[in-house]
């Protein structure tokens, strides 16, 4: 069990800056994120796309922004629990018990949800019968590539994951690569490699095809794919891999007793607290009159939510407003030594 002041759900830019805001007022926090790395949408969706509306930073990429925020929160030595999703949240007297899918338990006085539009989950096949074979013959990520040796593997998708696995598995498996259009969004070098492998008959390429149905009783036997022109082709296959990128799902957040407006959590604009005392929501996931889904708005929301957490973490104390330029206590929390 981990006891701390605040648990932040989501390690995107807004969650990261909130660590800073909690830190300078002397509160400790831990962070949980379902992705395998820090940065949220900035890293997952647009690491190399430039952003032009971060105050005082004329231009930076999602990756640069993330790295700068990580640098800024270094003094607070925060623990990140990555690849982990918060499943359950329960109120206990004056604290919250939070449980993750990996069995970790946190006891905190407040929770800040900075979860973007939910946690990232792989986009799955829309053919319903696929669920029956998921985890046995149909996969959306690869844990053990040895099971594919000398087998037929049908890979769907046009991005780097699909191309990279098609290239790698073609060495020891029979690979079909199926994509809904002629162009691939993966790296140019991979696309060329795939075209070469296709000419050498090491990868069988099906473009303008999508999955139409899957067949098999206990085990998957074959799949049917449908061309844009309506024609259907049946392929015998041992395994099917789908790489359609990640989508965002609210997931367990739906069960925490929070008011929801569509996929957003309504908050007050004084402290960004939700209808549950001690649970705050900031960034893309919160909604209030005038809400803008901007990173800069999320920074502001985090600054106020951090202060909102103070009364739960230190009920006996009064929070004094201080500037980083002049406050000795803030500067000592930041580890800054000043000669005066």
């Amino acid at each position: 069990m981990i006891k701390t002041d605040v648990l932040i759900i989501g390690a995107g830019p807004v969650g990261l800056f909130c660590i800073h805001q909690l830190g300078i007022i002397g509160l400790k926090c831990e962070v949980v994120d379902n992705l395998d790395k820090i940065g949220g949408q900035c890293i997952e969706l647009y690491p190399d796309k430039p952003i032009y509306d971060i105050p005082a930073i004329p231009e930076c990429t999602g990756e640069e922004l993330t790295n700068n925020l990580i640098e800024q929160i270094k003094p607070f030595k925060t623990n990140f629990h990555l690849n982990e999703r918060v499943e359950e949240v329960k109120k206990e007297k004056n604290y919250w018990i939070v449980k993750t899918n990996k069995g970790k338990e946190f006891h905190v006085s407040s929770i800040i949800i900075a979860g973007g539009v939910g946690s990232f989950e792989p986009r799955k096949f829309s053919v319903k019968e696929c669920a029956k074979f998921e985890g046995n013959e149909i996969f959306y990520s690869i844990k053990d590539k040895k099971i594919f040796k000398n087998k037929t593997v049908s890979i769907f998708g046009g991005g780097d994951s699909a191309l990279d696995w098609a290239i790698e598995l073609s060495e020891s498996s029979k690979v079909n690569l199926i994509h809904r259009r002629d162009e691939f969004r993966g790296a140019q070098s991979s696309v060329e490699k795939i075209k070469k492998l296709s000419e050498e008959n090491k990868v069988k390429l099906f473009t303008k095809y999508q999955l139409n149905s899957v067949e098999g009783d206990k085990n998957l036997k074959s799949i049917s794919i449908k061309h844009d022109d309506g024609s259907i082709e049946k392929i015998e296959t041992d395994f099917v891999l789908g790489f359609f990128g990640l989508i965002m799902q609210l997931g367990p957040i739906l069960n925490w007793g929070l008011n929801l407006e569509k996929k957003n959590i309504p908050v007050n604009t004084e402290s960004f607290e939700t209808n549950q005392k001690g649970i705050f929501a900031i960034g893309d996931i919160c909604i209030y009159p005038g809400k803008l889904k901007l990173i800069l708005s999320g920074f502001h929301e985090g600054a106020l939510a951090a202060r909102g957490c103070f009364k739960y973490a230190r009920p006996e104390e009064t929070l004094r407003f201080e500037f980083t330029t002049t406050s000795k206590s803030v500067q000592s929390r930041l580890g800054v030594k000043k000669n005066d």
């Binding site: 998708g157 809904r180 259009r181 162009e183 969004r185 999508q210 799902q249 889904k293």
Partner: protein
């Protein structure tokens, strides 16, 4: 004002006036039309405002910019008439546009 028709997967149709300059996605969101999520808010960073454009309209629309098809790869059941509605900016030329909404976005 241009009129845009959104047809839900169930067949329920909504015809609304959308102000010039808004996107087809914004027209749906502002009028609470179910079936368009627009998780990323219009940044072409997700594929949850995905629509199927009526065939006779498809070629009349501005061509896809770089990146739109890459996102459509990640949409739910894309087809050759798929577009991201955040990339369709409403103008007089789009008056009468009809889009069909997929069964779901996420």
């Amino acid at each position: 004002m241009p009129r845009i028709t959104y047809i839900e997967h169930s067949g329920k149709s909504h015809t609304i006036d959308v102000t010039n300059g808004l996107s087809v996605m914004e027209g749906a969101i502002q009028n609470n039309i179910p079936g368009i999520d627009a998780d990323c808010g219009g940044g072409m960073a997700c594929a949850t405002c995905h629509v199927y454009v009526k065939e006779e309209w498809f070629d009349k629309l501005p061509k896809k910019e770089q990146g739109e098809d890459d996102m459509i790869d990640m949409a739910y059941e894309p087809n050759p008439l798929s577009r991201l509605s955040c990339q369709l900016i409403v103008s007089e030329e789009l008056d009468g546009l009809i889009v069909n909404l997929p069964e779901k976005q996420a």
